[in-house]
């Protein structure tokens, strides 16, 4: 008797608890306040600004697509778009493949593997300022570490950061050194997920190592590979600190990425409307790149 009334009370209470109640929204309200004011509102305000001639405090006259037209007639902006694609092309495949190689070779419990995993991830915790400080000095002619290495072979090191054909490559090397930890760790996590009995079955079948790698390991982590590539594309599209601190976008704008151009327009020349337009273009590019990559991987997955 008491048991049954207990149960019904519980049910009534549970039902009452599940009914919508505006007071429950109080828990999400504090976050939503910041979300609305600092993310949603600026997102739309930025779109609004991109159609206006704006400065640091105000949005001036409406100019329609004027800012966008100016951008696409601006050789420096177009160049920065090209530079950004070039940088993504230099870094993303290298990060994905090197990360995969390191994960495959360090996926063991040995002491050496543990230490090396820690080493390859360690640079990721440093800030961009310290990373660029280190690498600017590695690349600097005469005094740099590379100059010292070249001297061992009686050669003269080129001045990496001021040579137009080498500057972006130098920034890419710095970036790979800085960012290699994350792809490696993501691949390692994926490798741990592969059930051990598949490998045991392969070993019983006397499958070669190469065969095991190509028909078990790599297909099992395909999704992670796509994930790593998307994450890296989104991250590397936003190159700013390395280029700003190592070369200021030079020589002759060859290392000037889109974000540096936005920074220059909006916060140094205070042409805020034009800067906002450039940031919308970047946003669209990132979304498009991630979307294309995702769709390509999905259709490839359906075929296999």
């Amino acid at each position: 008797m008491t048991n049954r009334s207990d149960a019904s009370a519980r049910r009534r209470k549970a039902a009452g608890a599940d009914a919508p109640d505006w007071r429950n929204a109080l828990f999400v309200a504090p976050y939503l306040f910041f979300f609305a004011t600092l993310l949603v509102f600026p997102l739309f305000w930025g779109i609004w600004l991109s159609f206006h001639k704006a400065d640091i405090f105000t949005s001036g006259p409406f100019v329609g697509l004027g800012n966008y037209i100016r951008l696409f007639n601006d050789a420096v902006f177009l160049r920065s778009v090209g530079n950004t694609f070039y940088f993504v092309f230099l870094t993303v495949p290298a990060l994905a493949l090197l990360g995969l190689f390191l994960a495959l070779s360090l996926n063991s419990n040995s002491r050496l593997a543990t230490i090396l995993r820690g080493l390859f991830f360690s640079s990721s915790v440093l800030s961009v300022t310290i990373v660029t400080l280190i690498w600017r000095f590695v690349f600097i002619p005469q005094y740099g570490l590379l100059a010292a290495i070249y001297k061992l072979f009686d050669a003269e090191a080129p001045s990496f950061l001021t040579d137009p054909s080498l500057a972006m490559i130098a920034i890419a090397i710095t970036t790979i050194w800085w960012c290699i930890g994350l792809p490696m760790m993501l691949f390692l996590a994926a490798l741990q997920q592969i059930p051990a009995d598949i490998y045991e079955a392969a070993a019983l079948d006397n499958a070669s190592r190469w065969r095991t790698l190509t028909s078990i390991t790599l297909p099992s982590i395909r999704r992670t590979f796509v994930l790593v590539v998307i994450i890296q594309i989104v991250m590397q599209f936003q190159l700013f600190g390395q280029a700003w601190l190592m070369t200021r976008g030079g020589p002759n704008n060859v290392t000037r990425p889109i974000v540096l151009h936005i920074y220059d327009l909006a916060f140094r020349r205070w042409d805020v409307g034009l800067g906002a337009a450039a940031s919308e273009v970047l946003f669209a590019l990132i979304l498009a790149a991630a979307m294309i990559q995702y769709l390509m991987s999905r259709s490839a997955g359906e075929r296999s």
């Binding site: 519980r10 504090p30 949603v40 400080l133 600017r136 005094y143 070669s208 989104v234 936005i262």
Partner: protein, 283 residues
């Protein structure tokens, strides 16, 4: 039969050695620049000027580190970075826990739509909002203040997403039992569920701290007064007139000094940091 097995294991041996050699070469490339910078930081500035290769042999001195304590803004900047990072970390933990509980457990009108909108927020890169944000903060006179540097980070949707997932994974029987005891919603959240989310709090806390400590773009445009620089911005400002000013050794000592705190944290909490960062990336 045995011959074939032998040749296979021999081939395996060569392959293993090649891979090991390549991995070791890469690890030298990882570690050499850092060791070299530490070496530079331990050299007398005049000796380095005269002969840059003197870094490879003694004498090594700690004068550059002593000089940090007397000159430069590094200590002030470390303090600023600490205030900003700790503030943002606690703010994020509080807001994300409350919202995560609300989205995972409570019913109110529009909850599911709101949650989807928040998830869309994850896809918005900082650059898409930063110009407008800067203008808004100019109007509010928030630049060159601690809250001005902290506030934008509070809108990050990742913490809410993580905490919502975590609260959903906790068995519902726990809060139903507490409801029978007539505990208030807030009490259930605070006393019953929150202690169970400590692992997620640690992950989110470490991730937020690291991101905030290393943030560069927003502090660069918001904290323009030298006394309000965070460590990343301050270190960057010194690179501009690099080498000719106070000497290479001193500059590198400051870099090592600035990098050391986060590196020591990494050595102690390596496992948690790796979990936090890779977990965040996989969202």
């Amino acid at each position: 039969m045995s011959g074939r097995a032998n040749s296979r294991s021999a081939r395996r041996g060569i392959g293993d050695h090649l891979i090991l050699a390549l991995v070791l070469a890469l690890s030298i490339a990882m570690i050499a620049p850092a060791l070299w910078v530490i070496g530079l930081s331990l050299k007398d500035n005049h000796e380095l000027m005269a002969n840059p290769n003197s870094v490879f042999h003694p004498p090594y001195v700690i004068d550059n580190y002593v000089n940090i304590l007397y000159g430069g803004g590094v200590i002030r900047w470390i303090l600023n970075s600490l205030i900003v990072s700790v503030g943002l970390t606690f703010g994020t933990l509080l807001l994300s826990s409350l919202a995560g509980y609300g989205f995972a457990r409570l019913n109110f009108r529009g909850r599911d739509i709101l949650f989807i909108v928040v998830l869309f927020g994850l896809a918005v890169p900082e650059q898409a909002v930063i110009v407008a944000r800067h203008q808004i903060f100019s109007l509010l006179k928030f630049h060159n203040t601690y809250h001005g540097i902290i506030l934008p980070g509070l809108s990050n949707a990742f913490g809410v997403f993580l905490m919502t997932q975590y609260f959903r994974a906790i068995p519902k029987e726990l809060d139903e039992a507490a409801l029978i005891d007539n505990a208030s919603r807030f009490k259930i959240f605070w006393k019953v569920l929150l202690p169970l989310t400590l692992p997620a709090q640690a992950t989110l806390g470490i991730f937020t701290f690291l991101l905030s400590w290393n943030d560069y773009f927003w502090p660069l445009i918001s904290a323009t007064e030298k006394s309000m620089y965070t460590l990343t911005v301050g270190m960057a400002s010194m690179q501009v007139n690099f080498a000719q000013s106070e000497g290479v050794g001193f500059l590198m000592a400051q870099a090592v000094f600035a990098g050391a705190p986060i590196f020591i944290v990494y050595l102690f909490f390596q496992k948690y940091i790796v979990t936090a960062v890779s977990g965040a990336a996989m969202k």
